[in-house]
Amino acid sequence: MRTQAEAPEREPLSVDGTGVALTGVERGYRGRRREVVALSGLDLQVRAGDVVAVVGPSGCGKSTLLELAAGLQEPDEGAVVAMGTSDAAGRRTACAYMPQRDLLLPWRDSLGNAALALECQGVRNSEARRRAAPLFDRFGLADFEHARPADLSGGMRQRVAFMRALLPGRPVLLLDEPFGALDSITRASMQAWLAEALTEEPRTVLLVTHDVQEALFLSDRVAVLSPRPGRVVAELEVTLPRPRSRRAVVTDPEFGRLERLALEALGA
């Protein structure tokens, strides 16, 4: 059970208690015809060890927000800080970024795909595979080390992508609609699995999703983004007790209240 009182125990990773902070962020990009403003006046803070979900209508700049945090983009204005560093290279080292699609390499087996993350850190291939192997048991993928992505189900592929993201041991986890491509049954079981994995091995998590229920089920706090240009229009503390079981959560009146608030903020 993760309570507020236990929260400080999950914070030794952080310098100042802040995992990720975006302050006054403006970010535009050149569209086909005109300049598109993706994010404007965006403020968002994620305390170290917290799970914050960002929900918003499609095209509100959610992915841009994650890429900014991940150090793959720079803001036009404002500041982005991850684990105390504001330069892009530092943010890249602090954050594990998991894009929407699993992007597994079809020519590598799942062990090789997970090990890729370590190889990029300069670990030798054989050593990287050796260090990735123990994770397969924990991720429910024992005996699938040598399967190619084409032979895995969607949920299994996503778990391999998770391993790849977690292996470098970075304190911040950035998830871009991690279950968006899965069917609803697989999605529910993957959500439960992620919640459990994060209890075992807490990280600072910024999770982007368009699914309000998923956001409430997984997070400590939900930030609601406006349509483009995106900015935070509402923040909801999710005080539902952990560990959360899906059945218990959806029948909790508090869950219904938060869902209503979130949907109102979304204008739905």
């Binding site: 890429e67 991940a70 150090g71 793959l72 890249r92 080292t93 954050c95 594990a96 970024y97 894009p99 699609r101 992007l103 390499l105 079809p106 020519w107 890729l116 993350a117 190889e119 990029c120 850190q121 190619r148 084409a150 790849r164 470098p168």
Partner: protein, 251 residues
């Protein structure tokens, strides 16, 4: 299996039609050798044909090897250094517009009679499909995948070696299959421009000496050579890229 059966059936029909046309009284034996005459020439001239086929095969394989090294190398160079791509790509396309038939005699003048001009012509004709395909393959990598590599802390070289080059492999083999078939044409042109051995020269000589069945036998061997190279390239692709399970047209 069905595929091979159908291809065999069509080939059989073609040979029958060929025999039929060749048997017509209106067709001159000097213009068209029948399949039976061609087979007879294959049997009688077997060692002569094989000696010359060996020479041509060496030209083809060495030329292919040169074009693979040069083509893949320049594709990678053009990929990692954009100004080179922008400068060289139009020239690459233009080089294909020069008819090899015209170029062959010039090469013979420049490199003399030996193996040199043949290799140059085969390599030149094969360079284009390999370079263009490898370059397309390197550029086919999804931007999100490169973004992921960057977030994992990969260097430019690591992205190239671990992601872009493997992604380009199936494209390389597509290029190689085209190159394998045209390489034989290149070798024949090279020999026509000036040679004292090789199957291309034998066919040209046979034509001049009105040995029509021998010409046809040479053409049959050249065709078999091209088809075999095409099939070998396909086999190599299946061995090297087993993940790429698209139904490739095979010989």
């Amino acid at each position: 299996m069905r595929r091979y059966a159908l291809a065999g059936l069509l080939l059989g029909l073609f040979v029958l039609a060929w025999q039929g046309v060749a048997s017509l009284n209106a067709v001159d034996d000097l213009t068209l050798a029948s399949p039976v005459e061609t087979m007879r020439a294959l049997r009688d001239d077997w060692s002569l044909l094989m000696d010359n086929a060996g020479v041509t095969l060496v030209e083809v394989l060495l030329g292919l090897a040169i074009s693979i090294a040069a083509g893949a190398g320049s594709a990678v160079a053009m990929h990692i250094w954009r100004p080179l791509r922008e400068a060289a790509y139009p020239l690459l396309v233009a080089s294909q517009a020069i008819p090899i038939v015209v170029l062959a005699p010039i090469f013979v003048l420049a490199f003399d009679y030996g193996m040199g001009p043949k290799l140059a012509i085969v390599a030149l004709i094969c360079f284009f499909p390999i370079t263009v395909n490898v370059l397309d393959g390197l550029r086919s990598v999804e931007p999100e995948l490169l973004k992921l590599m960057r977030s994992l802390g990969a260097s430019r070289l690591q992205s190239l070696v671990k992601v872009e080059l493997p992604s380009a492999l199936p494209f390389f083999f597509s290029g190689l299959r085209i190159a394998a078939t045209v390489s034989v044409i290149g070798a024949v042109f090279g020999e026509w421009a000036g040679a004292d051995e090789g199957l291309g020269r034998l066919v040209l000589l046979g034509n001049n000496q009105l040995q029509t069945p021998r010409v046809y036998a040479g053409i049959v061997i050249l065709t078999v050579m091209a088809v075999a190279l095409f099939a070998l390239a396909g086999l190599a692709e299946r061995l090297v890229c087993p993940w790429n399970r698209k139904e490739a047209p095979s010989a």
